[in-house]
């Protein structure tokens, strides 16, 4: 179990995370949502130990150190692979450093996405690079797979394929935390939604709870953010020309 207890992080005077407490259980697929700057990436960076923070983060009761860090993997939209290395060379590197590396899963996913095995990653398209990044994170053999906007730049078909494949290959003890803005797309795929707003945790609901309440994920997100449906029409109304102004302000 990955447990976050009152995790806070500040950049100078800016509070990026404020007292975030969260428990991620084995086998969950969690969607992490929030506006730009809500703290999603910061939260993942704190979990992975990239950032110093206040509060505690433990993995099955133990702090995250070099001893258990291999139980976490990470896929990011800025990519963490080596651009000069081919997929085959990445496989060798991962096999060397992560003893639980899932070679069969890696090869299966490479084949499914038809990615070239021997071309340097820098020569792949953005979509292919995203796929390689995600494949490596899924194949590392980690129990907790963190993904930060992994599909930025992928087309819709690619993303849908990926959700289906992911649902099919995950083992019951593998936990996926996926941060994305593609709420509607991902709503049938995740089992739990966690919402961040200005560094605070403002919502945490399971798909079952939402179903019992008769809400969908988009509704839940809008309610949690106090989204005003009339916001756009009011704004447009305020732009309308008044009696003394014949010019179109837009």
């Amino acid at each position: 179990m990955l447990q976050l207890d009152s995790v806070s992080k500040s950049y100078r005077n800016q509070k990026a995370l404020q007292e975030v407490s969260l428990t991620l259980r084995p086998g969950e697929i969690v969607g992490l949502f929030g506006e730009n700057g809500a703290g999603k990436t910061t939260l993942m960076s704190c979990i992975l130990g990239y950032l110093r923070h206040e509060g505690s983060i433990t993995l099955d009761g133990a702090p995250i150190t070099r001893k258990n860090i291999a139980r976490l993997s990470f896929a990011t939209s800025v990519h963490s692979f080596f651009p000069n290395l081919s997929a085959a060379a990445h496989r060798e590197f991962y096999q060397l450093h992560f003893p639980a590396f899932r070679t069969r899963r890696f090869e299966g996913l490479m084949e499914f996405f038809e990615l070239p095995m021997h071309r340097p990653a820098r020569h792949l398209s953005t979509g292919q690079q995203n796929q390689l990044e995600v494949i490596l994170a899924l194949s590392q053999g980690a129990d907790y797979i963190l993904m930060d906007e992994p599909f930025a730049g992928n087309d819709l078909f690619n993303r849908e394929d990926f959700y289906k494949v992911l649902s099919g290959i995950l083992e019951p003890n593998e936990t996926v935390v996926i941060s994305t803005h593609l709420i509607e797309e991902i709503q049938n795929f995740i089992g739990r939604a966690v919402l961040l707003h200005q560094g605070r945790l403002i919502g945490d609901k399971s798909a079952d709870d939402l179903e019992a309440e008769g809400k969908d994920l988009v509704q839940f997100v809008k309610e949690s953010y106090h989204y005003r449906a009339d916001r756009v029409s009011r704004a447009l109304g305020s732009f309308a020309p008044d009696d003394h102004d014949d010019r179109n302000p837009l």
Binding site: R66, A70, H79, F82, P83, N84
Partner: protein, 160 residues
């Protein structure tokens, strides 16, 4: 050998290219250090010329300039190569931010020293090798200095 060097520099960086630049640096430093030989030979021939022409009393006053004066920074190139190595270590670290953020992967490897090793090993070895080359060249030139200088022109300090 390449495989061994591969594990000492950032993943995906060609160690042979770095080795080539190192050898160019050391080669240029060695060539620059040859100025000592020219200086030694010209000073020696001037002294020998004077020795033949001066009266015996004055000739006894002639001595070869000391070794360090003749060296006159001839091995500075090796020091410069060694001083470039911290910059190379920085280049190695920044390499993990180029084209991707492979620093994220390196920082979450179970092997604590992997990132440090890959950033620092070659620069540290390079600095040590450059300084060692400088020392070897200095000793070699010192031997040449003693060999090429007639006994009567050597400073008495060498006999202490």
């Amino acid at each position: 050998m390449k495989c061994r060097l591969d594990s000492l520099c950032p993943v995906g960086l060609d160690p042979m290219r770095e080795l080539l630049w190192f050898f160019i640096g050391v080669g240029a430093s060695t060539l620059y250090s040859l100025k000592f030989i020219f200086s030694l030979l010209s000073t020696r021939s001037n002294l020998l010329y004077s020795l033949e022409r001066l009266p015996a009393g004055d000739a006894a006053m002639l001595t070869m300039p000391c070794f360090s004066a003749l060296m006159n920074g001839a091995t500075i190139g090796f020091l410069l190569v060694a001083l470039c190595m911290p910059a190379l270590a920085l280049v190695h670290y920044l390499y993990h931010y180029q084209g991707s953020r492979s620093i994220y992967l390196m920082r979450r490897l179970p092997q604590r020293w992997e990132l440090a090793r890959r950033c620092l090993a070659l620069p540290a070895l390079g600095a040590a090798a450059a300084l060692l080359c400088g020392l070897v060249i200095t000793l070699l030139w010192m031997g040449l200095y003693l060999f090429a200088t007639p006994r009567e022109l050597l400073s008495p300090l060498w006999y202490l």
